[in-house]
């Protein structure tokens, strides 16, 4: 992770894309506007002084407390956090990019929120995005082949959402 100078270059190249940062965290991270994620990643991979040529991992973290008693005590609003772990092979440094999404598109439960795909930046993102779509329910716009990867194609719901409920029955197989 490079110092603030590196971030200033990013802000200069893409004004308004970076909306937050925490450089004191265990893994320092920058937060970007979700609709700019593909532009930021393309800049980081192709134009940045440290070329982040490898995508290690894409994760979605569901910030939602289904228990209303506990939900009253939490300090955050329900949202979905996208976490991108990047790695630079020449410089051997890592970078964490985050983006916050609403839990559902237009607040309609069951409608996955949308974020631009980074498949055009790293081809390896293809399967990672399919996995996030499958388990966490995020729609990656511009993905060439977005369908479930681990669960069966006719599976319903997104298992890694905190309010997910295991189906009672799947093709005659008892669920719980």
């Amino acid at each position: 992770m490079q110092g603030p100078g590196f971030l200033e270059q990013l802000e200069e190249a893409l004004p308004g894309a970076v909306v937050g940062r925490n450089l004191e965290a265990i893994d320092p991270w920058v937060e970007v506007a979700p609709e700019r994620i593909a532009d930021v990643c393309r800049w980081l991979a192709k134009s940045s002084p440290v070329r982040f040529d490898s995508l290690q991992c894409i994760t979605a973290v569901d910030w939602c407390e289904p228990d209303p008693k506990k939900a009253a005590k939490v300090s955050w609003q329900p949202h979905l956090e996208m976490v991108y772990h990047l790695w630079s092979t020449p410089a051997r440094v890592s970078l964490v990019v985050k983006a916050n999404l609403p839990r559902w598109k237009a607040d309609v439960p069951g409608q996955p929120p949308e974020i631009p795909s980074v498949c055009g930046v790293w081809r390896g993102a293809n399967w990672h995005e399919r996995e996030v779509y499958d388990l966490s329910g995020v729609w990656f716009t511009g993905h060439p082949d977005l369908r479930r990867i681990l669960c069966p194609e006719d599976w319903e719901g997104y298992p890694l959402r905190k309010d997910y409920e295991m189906p009672l029955d799947y093709h005659g197989i008892r669920g719980r």
Binding site: I26, S54, T59, S94, W122, R123, G124, W127, L135
Partner: protein, 402 residues
């Protein structure tokens, strides 16, 4: 010129174009390393597209991780890469320790190196033996399992299990080694060292093996990096990267003071390559042969590391230390850590809300990224080369599907 056309089967095949056919390989095909299904689009013998279908072994490990404390999750990491369960335990344990800013004792550190490197040998032996099976030779598999059995015996003595160990855990290890274990381990290494020559005679220099692997499935370093490949698959393409040397401080500190050279070709030479068979004339950097050879070199490298760690471990006077309590609370925050497992870089990402149970437990699998590149490598190859290419990636489905 005519002879060149004869040599390249693809040119002949394209002369007589046949109807495209979809061939289903797996999920129970013996050469797919577990329940992997490949759908091949073929034109005669030539494969035009390969589509892997995964998920047959999905066991919701990440969801389970959100319902257990950090230490209770250790047995589930065993079942990810079940051929290198010690390395999986280690990856999760260090990721949690990174989040908790916890440092294990010096003795535990050396014991971890010892155990993890011994498991790397076992995993590469399976990789080598199973690769022989993929290519139609049965004997190397038996030779490999004969030695692996001895490593499993050592593990059984140390922790009671032969496959899913849960030995390395958050904050240290569950138990110290039994008396006399180090001597038995050294005896194994002394006996194992000359055996490696047999493996090179059986596979590395075997004319049929070289014909089946050299210049097959060539992967450029750029392609490997873009797909996030790691481990021997990445180093087989000539990229000099090993998390034990290049990783994060908390992980590289474990190997501090250890002498090892990353098994990667530099200026046309592998480290210490005078001890090993020469690279065949047909082999190209990034092909199946090089991926296989990097694994064979890492077996020797790991043996060296085990020897070094035995010395250091026995020189440690202090106590091993107790692992953390099952319900020890983690600070709020998140941490991501990649460790160098035998199959590649295994990453664990933990998000904590301040309790002992992770809010999110994410496992980034090396085999997942390594398999994702398979369709690029198989484009235009022969059907018989598909097992050779997929086998050279040395994947484990338990880790891909989690």
């Amino acid at each position: 010129m005519a002879s060149m056309v004869d040599d390249d089967p693809r040119i002949i095949e394209f002369d007589v174009r046949t109807d495209e056919m979809l061939v289903n390989m797996g999920p129970q095909h013996p050469s797919t390393h577990g329940v992997l299904r490949l759908v091949l689009r073929t034109d005669g013998e030539v494969v035009s597209e390969v589509e892997p279908h995964i998920g047959y072994l999905h066991r919701c490990a990440e969801k389970i991780g959100e319902n257990l404390t950090h230490r209770q999750f250790i047995p589930y990491t065993d079942r990810m890469d079940y051929l290198a369960a010690m390395n999986m335990n280690l990856g999760w344990a260090i990721a949690v320790e990174k989040l908790m800013k916890y440092q294990v004792s010096e003795k535990a550190r050396h014991l971890r190196v010892l155990i993890a490197e011994l498991n790397r040998i076992a995993s590469h032996l399976v990789g080598m033996g199973a690769y022989g099976l993929d290519l139609g030779t049965f004997s190397p598999f038996l030779y490999a399992f004969r030695e692996r059995e001895k490593i499993l015996d050592l593990f059984e003595e140390a922790c009671g299990a032969r496959l899913t160990y849960s030995y390395i855990t958050v904050g240290g290890l569950t138990a110290d080694l039994p008396p006399g274990w180090l001597q038995r381990c050294e005896a194994f290494l002394d006996q194992f060292e000359p055996v490696i020559k047999e493996y090179h005679a059986l596979l590395t220099t075997n004319a049929i093996f070289v014909k089946r692997t050299a210049n097959i499935g060539v992967m450029s370093p750029e392609l490997a990096i873009e797909y996030g490949c790691s481990g021997p698959v990445l180093r087989g393409s000539g990229v000099d990267q090993d998390m034990r040397r290049d990783g994060e401080a908390i992980y590289t500190a474990m190997y501090e003071g250890y002498a090892f050279e990353v098994a990667v070709m530099k200026d046309g030479h592998y480290p210490r390559d005078r001890d090993y068979p020469a690279v065949p004339a047909d082999a190209v950097l990034g092909d199946c042969w090089h991926r296989f050879f990097v694994r064979m070199l890492e077996v020797v490298q790991s043996m060296d590391l085990v020897r070094q760690s035995i010395d250091r471990y026995s020189a440690c006077k202090g106590p091993l230390g107790e692992p953390l309590k099952l319900t020890e609370k983690m600070p709020a925050g998140d941490a991501y850590l990649e460790t160098e497992c035998p199959k590649g870089q295994m990453g664990f990402y933990i998000v904590s809300d301040g309790s002992a149970i992770p809010w999110r437990a994410r496992a980034r699998s090396s085999s997942f990224s390594n398999l994702a590149v398979a369709h690029e490598l198989c484009r235009g190859c022969l059907i018989a080369d598909v097992p050779a290419i997929v086998g050279s990636l040395d994947i484990v489905m338990g880790e891909i599907d989690r």
